[in-house]
Symmetry: C2
């Protein structure tokens, strides 16, 4: 029942992207990672390293973001993070300001109702949200 690279490629093709080696490898890497990745991490990942150029990954990530297949996250680091938008999954993150560890929050997101309210009141389209908790983890205390 989990999403496959093939399905993702189909989504991309439906958005007008071409099926290329780089696209498949990038989608596979993001899917397997199952967590937000920076451009630098993607570039160094075993599957992508020496498979395609940083600029290629960069441009693919932006095309995928425009297509709504990938989402760009802040996460307070200097580098941007990217993650697949999977249908059954919305994640909030818990981030240690000491060591920089990033963990998904294992609890239902309480923001849904407010998001609906904003959608109705403001007329914003394509609304989504990003929720991050910051603090000092026990190890860094």
């Amino acid at each position: 029942m989990s999403t496959s690279v093939g399905e993702l490629v189909d989504l991309c093709r439906a958005s007008g992207l071409r099926r290329t080696k780089a696209l498949e490898v990038l989608l596979g890497t993001l899917l397997q990672a199952d967590r937000p990745m920076t451009l630098a991490k993607l570039e160094k990942s075993r599957r992508l390293a020496s498979q395609c150029d940083k600029a290629t990954i960069y441009r693919l990530l932006h095309r995928l973001t425009d297509a709504g297949i990938v989402r760009r996250l802040g996460l307070h680091e200097r580098a941007a993070y990217f993650a697949l938008v999977l249908p059954d999954q919305h994640r909030d993150y818990l981030i240690c300001t000491g060591c920089g560890s990033i963990a998904p929050v294992d609890a239902p997101c309480p923001v849904h109702d407010l998001e609906e309210e904003i959608r109705t009141k403001t007329g914003f389209q394509n609304l989504y949200h990003e929720l991050e908790f910051f603090g000092t983890c026990p190890k860094c205390t």
Copy 2:
């Protein structure tokens, strides 16, 4: 009942910072702006321009962040945003991915309970959160 520069300076001194011209001007600018500001915007603001160097503002912002007087925000732009941590104020933001406009959300934040739960379950210290809504505003649709 609103916070004054003097009170903020006292807070800073209590954290070991020295009372300097740059500190006072920066605090005054952040207080008056009443919204998150990037380093670049601060540097160009009327009050700070030619009053102190970018590196000085940069280092002050970091000292203030360490002291908990200022908070660094993501807001999805390439540059980091900084805002005063005011006692009676927690803000969520609504951001247009088209024109980049940033508006505070005028509704009570629904995350408080989850934050308490995380604090208890994980043992994180100094916990706070950042909640941002992204979408396309009516003008950009």
